[in-house]
Amino acid sequence: MSGSVVEIIRPQGKTADGDEKEPLVVGRAVYEHPYIVRLCHWVNTVALFVMVGSGLQIFRAFPSFGAKIPQKDLLHWPRAFAIGGWLGGALQWHLTFMWIYIATGGLYLGYQIFSGNYHQVLFTRRDIPGVWPMAKHYFFLGERPPATEVYNPLQKQAYTTAIILGGLSVLTGLAVWKPIQFSWMVWMMGGFHYARIWHFAVMWAILFFVLGHLVMVILHGWNNFMSMLTGWKKDPKC
């Protein structure tokens, strides 16, 4: 279970009388990320990378949201930034890694719900009062509010949004892949054309999150990064 803080100590040997010296406290550490969360995070990172790359290659086959005749291309995405090489290859990657993407998303959600660990990330009404002070701090307009939890209210908001976007990417993808079996979802999304647009838009929203996520990881340094690998964060702020 996450959240347990320990003091890191360095033994100081024995006194002349043979007693243990009081050990030196050299730091603190907290177990922040349970194993399942870390596993899902990294497998999903790879899956997301492949889904975006192959998705862009699929989009290259018809880079438009209009009619085929006449075809108005929206953008010409370079092949070098796509995965699969051709439409058939990209579909193989996309239709393979979507299962990995769904599986890690599902395992993560299931774990969070049943372990109760979701409290760490889920943005709720209690977090609303903390949003404004934290936002001011991020824009250099205020002191950093004292940390009381692993994640601050803005982090919770960002992670909760990212998880919702992940769910939406699956649902919009299902609507594009199986528009007849899931015709009700296509209808809810405003039709097949819109399902395809939503699927594309959700991808960009996720990429926007990833960009912000990477910036924050860089700003917060090595200990923060390592915590997603080992679970343990050295010298946490709370």
Partner: protein
């Protein structure tokens, strides 16, 4: 620092974090997809799994959405997506469909025999694997009615078709029996034009575009597929139900 915070030796926590890091090694298994010798087989397995799931998701009684006449694309804007030639030069006068395999009455069938079956007209969406789609109006005979005519064994697993060009396709029996699956000889209430597959094509609203083979010449009912389809055999999904 006399509080209740548990203490851990710095050597010990190094060991703990190292073990936790090692527990993530299964992630490296995904690297198998980057190994050229394994990649093709793994992707084939993944695509095969998707096809298996597609077949499970297919519901025989669930119809494709039917659209109003007002939603139809104009006939001129219905794309002609021939992969090779738009007109393979079919002799429409003497055209016949050769029927074989697990059927009681194999042989050659004339277009008039297909047209004598109840005519279905439907406005459905045609979706290309590339991503574009178009709503068109199609007319023809239910493939299932044609099965009755030729005495097809509907417990067989597949049908296969050959075309006047070198295109070929196959279809799972569940989809073949779907009431909207047509042997199509009309578009927009007019006889099929050559570019759209005259005189007879498949029209399967529950399948992706490349399954809708044009210029049919041969139809077989079978339990074994030695080839799946022109595009499928190059790496596209075999089932690709919508």
């Amino acid at each position: 620092m006399k509080n209740n915070v548990p203490q851990m030796d710095e050597k010990k926590i190094q060991g703990v974090t190292r073990r936790q890091l090692l527990k993530l090694t299964p992630v490296l298994a995904l690297g198998a997809f980057a190994i050229p010798g394994l990649q093709e087989g793994l992707l084939k397995k993944g695509l095969g799994f998707s096809d298996w799931a597609s077949a499970r998701l297919f519901r025989a009684g669930h119809p494709a959405t039917i659209f109003d006449d007002s939603e139809l694309a104009p006939f001129e804007e219905f794309p002609i997506n021939g992969y090779d030639v738009d007109d393979p030069g079919v002799d429409l006068e003497n055209w016949k469909l050769t029927v074989g395999g697990a059927v009681q009455k194999p042989g050659e069938y004339k277009l008039s025999q297909v047209q004598a079956l109840p005519r279905i007209r439907q406005n459905t969406r045609h979706i290309c694997v590339e991503g574009w789609d178009v709503i068109g109006r199609f007319g023809g005979a239910r493939l299932s009615d044609f099965f009755t005519l030729v005495g097809a064994d509907t417990t067989a697993r597949f049908i296969t078709v050959k075309c006047a060009d070198d295109y070929y396709e196959s279809l799972d029996m569940a989809t073949a029996l779907h009431p909207q699956t047509l042997l199509c000889y009309e578009m927009y209430d007019q006889p099929l034009t050559r570019e759209h597959g005259a005189p007879l094509r498949l029209q399967i609203p529950t399948k992706i575009g490349y399954k809708q083979a044009k210029y049919l010449t041969e139809l077989k009912v079978t339990n074994v597929l030695d080839k799946v389809g022109y595009w499928e055999d190059q790496g596209y999904s075999s089932f690709y139900g919508l």
